[in-house]
C-alpha cells in the first residue's frame, strides 16, 4: 500500500495536463452552472462606475436650472479606461472590459478608452469587444462611436504620459485609433467632454498587471477616483491599495468578470436568469472551477505521496 501511495508523487506531469484539459473542456459540452458570489471589491468597482452615472444625472438636472437662468452649464464626467492588455491576459481582461463597456453603454456614461504603453493588439481587441457586445445586446446598437465611446489607441511613456494627460489630455492623445483628430468635434463629439483630469469621474486601468503609477501620479496628486482590473497573479500584490483607499474597486481575474456580469444583470436588468454565459467571464467561470478542483486533487494526492515516501524511508 505504501509503495502505491509513494508512487502518487511520481505521476508524469503530462497525465496531470491531460486531466486538467479534460476537466476544463467538459463544461463546454455538459451544461453546468455554478452560483456566482460577488466579492466586495467587485461590488465596490460596480458602485464606483454607477456613482459616475448618478453624478452625471445630478449635473444634467442642475444644467437645466442653469440654462433657464442663462448661466454657463457644467460638463458631465467621463470614465477614462486604460486597457492596454494583449493576448497574454486576454482570458482574464476581456471579460472585465466587456462588463465595464456594457455597464457604461447601458447607462450612457461617456467612455474614453486608450492603451497606455499597450500591447499592439490592444486597440483592435477593444473594437472587437464592443462590436460583439452590440451583436449580443440589440438594445445597445444605437450607441455610437465618437458619441458614447471613443478608442484613442496606443500612447507611450508611462508616468510622463500620465502627467501630460492630467494637464492637457489632447496634447498627449492627438488622434483616435483610426487617425481622426481628437479636436475634430464633428466626428468625435465625446472629446468635447474632456480637457484634463478634472473632467474624469473615474479612471480605470484594466491590464494583466495594472499600472501602479496611476496611484501616485493621478489619484494622490489630483484626487481622481481610481479602479483596477487585473489578472489573478497581480491581485495578491495590488490588494494593498484597497484598505488604504487608494483604489475604489478591483476586478480580479475571470471570476470578477463573471461577478460583474451578474451585477449588471441583477442591478441594471433586474434579471438573474440570464446572468450565466452572457459575458466572456461568465463563459469561463464553470470550466475554471472544474480545473481548480483537479489542481486541488493533484495537490492532495501529491502530499499523500510525499508523506507515504517519508514513512517508507523511516521504515527502511
Amino acid at each position: 500500500m505504501l509503495d502505491f501511495l509513494a508512487r502518487l508523487q511520481t505521476i508524469d506531469r503530462r497525465w496531470i495536463y491531460l486531466f486538467v484539459a479534460v476537466a476544463c473542456a467538459l463544461p463546454f459540452y455538459v451544461n453546468t452552472e455554478v452560483k456566482v458570489y460577488v466579492f466586495p471589491e467587485t461590488q465596490m468597482f460596480f458602485d464606483s462606475v454607477q456613482a459616475v452615472k448618478t453624478e452625471n444625472d445630478r449635473i444634467a438636472a442642475n444644467n437645466v436650472k442653469l440654462a433657464a437662468q442663462n448661466k454657463p452649464t457644467v460638463r458631465e464626467k467621463v470614465i477614462l479606461l486604460d486597457s492596454p492588455w494583449g493576448p497574454g491576459s486576454l482570458a482574464e481582461n476581456k471579460g472585465q472590459d466587456e462588463a465595464v463597456f456594457e455597464h457604461c453603454l447601458r447607462e450612457r456614461i461617456p467612455l474614453i478608452i486608450m492603451a497606455l504603453d499597450g500591447d499592439v493588439n490592444a486597440p483592435r481587441y477593444i473594437d472587437d469587444i464592443i462590436e460583439n457586445l452590440q451583436k449580443r445586446c440589440p438594445e445597445l446598437r444605437d450607441r455610437k462611436y465618437g458619441v458614447d465611446w471613443v478608442n484613442l489607441g496606443i500612447t507611450k511613456t508611462d508616468w510622463m504620459a500620465m502627467m501630460q494627460m492630467a494637464k492637457d489630455f489632447k496634447k498627449q492623445l492627438k488622434q483616435d485609433s483610426k487617425g481622426t483628430s481628437t479636436t475634430d468635434y464633428e466626428k468625435l463629439p465625446i472629446m468635447k467632454k474632456i480637457d484634463n483630469i478634472n473632467d474624469v469621474g473615474l479612471l480605470i486601468c484594466i491590464n494583466g498587471w495594472p499600472n501602479e503609477n496611476y496611484v501616485p501620479f493621478i489619484h494622490q496628486q489630483y484626487g481622481t477616483k481610481l479602479a483596477f482590473g487585473g489578472c489573478g497573479m497581480s491581485s495578491t500584490y495590488l490588494y494593498r491599495f484597497i484598505p488604504s483607499g487608494q483604489i475604489c474597486g478591483f476586478l480580479v481575474s475571470t471570476r470578477a468578470a463573471a461577478e460583474y456580469d451578474t451585477l449588471i444583470h441583477r442591478e441594471l436588468l433586474h434579471d438573474e436568469t440570464t446572468a450565466i454565459h452572457a459575458n466572456y467571464g461568465s463563459k469561463l467561470i464553470v470550466p475554471l472551477a472544474y480545473g481548480h478542483l483537479v489542481i486541488i486533487l493533484a495537490i492532495v494526492l501529491g502530499n499523500i505521496g510525499y508523506f507515504a515516501t517519508q514513512r517508507k524511508r523511516r521504515a527502511g
Partner: protein, 308 residues
C-alpha cells in the same frame, strides 16, 4: 490593374479559425515535448507581432507625437515645400529633429562600436526616473503606512438611520470582528518586519519566535501568489479551449452540413496522420549528442568534467 478580391466572409472565418487552431495546437505540443513545429510557430508569432508593432507604433505614437509635430508648420507654407518650411520655422523643426536623433540613439545598443551613443538616452531616462521615483514611492506608500496604524479595539456605532447617520445617543460598541482583523493585520506587519531585521542574530527566543511567525505569514502570502498564478494560467488554457469550441469547431457550419462533416473528418485525419508521422520520426531518429563549446564529447572529456 487587377484588383485582389477579398475572400467571402465565411471563408475568412474558416481560415482565421484554422490558422488559430493550428497555432494553438502547435504551441501546446510543447507540453508533450520540445519540437520544431513549436519553435517555428513561436518564432513566426514573435516576428508578426514585431512587424505589426512597428506599424502601430509609427501610426499611433511616433507619427502624431513626433513626425507630425516636426512638420506641423508645413500646412502654413503656400509655396516652396520642405525647404521653405524649414527656412520659415527653423527652431521648432531643429528642436524636434534633435529629439528624434537623440531618441534614435537607443538603437545603437545593438552595435558594439557605437554603443556609447546609446548611453546618452539611457542616461537621460535614468536621471528622469531617479528624480521621479522619490515622488512615486512617497505618494504610493504614504497612505498605506498611515493605514497600517490601526486601533486594536475597533468601535462602531450601535444603530444608524437609512442615510448612514448614527442614532442620537446610540453610543459606540466594540466591533469584535474588526478588532480581530486589525490585530491580525498589525501582528502580521510586526512579525514580518522582525523577520527581515538582520542587524542582530535571532537568538533571543521572543525575536526568534516572532521571526518564525513572520516566515509562516510570508509562506501564506506566497501560497496566495501561487494559487492566483494557477488561476491565471488556467484562464489562458480556458481561453484556448473556448476558442476551439466556440470559433474553430462551428466555423465550417457556414458552408453547409456536408462541408462541416467533411472538414471534421479531414481535421481528425490530419491530426492522426501528423501524430503518426511524428511518432515514427521520434522512434527512428538517431540519438543526438548534446552540443556546445563546453559539452564533453568523449569519455575522457566526460571523466575530466566529472573530476572538475
Amino acid at each position: 490593374m487587377q484588383v485582389i478580391q477579398p475572400m467571402p466572409e465565411a471563408t475568412q472565418v474558416l481560415v482565421k479559425a484554422w490558422v488559430g487552431a493550428v497555432i494553438i495546437l502547435s504551441i501546446y505540443s510543447f507540453l508533450y515535448n520540445d519540437n520544431k513545429l513549436y519553435r517555428m510557430v513561436l518564432n513566426a508569432c514573435i516576428g508578426i507581432t514585431f512587424g505589426y508593432g512597428l506599424i502601430i507604433t509609427w501610426k499611433q505614437v511616433l507619427g502624431p507625437l513626433w513626425w507630425d509635430v516636426m512638420w506641423g508648420n508645413m500646412a502654413q507654407i503656400k509655396h516652396g515645400g520642405v525647404i521653405a518650411c524649414i527656412g520659415a520655422y527653423p527652431l521648432p523643426f531643429l528642436y524636434w529633429l534633435f529629439l528624434g536623433i537623440i531618441g534614435s540613439f537607443w538603437y545603437f545598443q545593438s552595435s558594439r562600436r557605437y554603443l556609447w551613443l546609446a548611453r546618452i538616452p539611457i542616461g537621460i531616462m535614468l536621471g528622469a526616473n531617479a528624480g521621479i521615483i522619490f515622488k512615486q514611492q512617497l505618494l504610493q506608500n504614504r497612505d498605506q503606512i498611515i493605514d497600517s496604524a490601526r486601533p486594536l479595539l475597533a468601535t462602531g456605532v450601535n444603530g444608524t438611520w437609512p442615510s448612514g447617520q448614527p442614532w442620537m445617543g446610540s453610543g459606540m460598541h466594540i466591533d469584535i470582528w474588526q478588532s480581530v482583523s486589525n490585530l491580525i493585520f498589525v501582528v502580521g506587519i510586526a512579525a514580518v518586519m522582525v523577520y527581515f531585521f538582520f542587524s542582530f542574530d535571532h537568538t533571543n527566543p521572543t525575536v526568534k519566535r516572532t521571526a518564525g511567525l513572520g516566515r509562516w505569514l510570508l509562506m501564506l502570502c506566497f501560497g496566495g501568489f501561487f494559487g492566483n498564478t494557477i488561476m491565471t494560467r488556467m484562464a489562458v488554457l480556458l481561453q484556448n479551449i473556448e476558442f476551439m469550441n466556440n470559433e474553430w469547431a462551428p466555423a465550417p457550419i457556414a458552408f453547409g452540413h456536408r462541408f462541416s462533416v467533411a472538414s471534421g473528418w479531414v481535421g481528425l485525419g490530419l491530426l492522426v496522420v501528423g501524430g503518426l508521422i511524428y511518432t515514427i520520426w521520434y522512434l527512428l531518429r538517431k540519438p543526438t549528442k548534446p552540443s556546445g563549446p563546453d559539452t564533453p564529447q568523449t569519455e575522457e572529456e566526460l571523466g575530466a568534467a566529472v573530476t572538475r
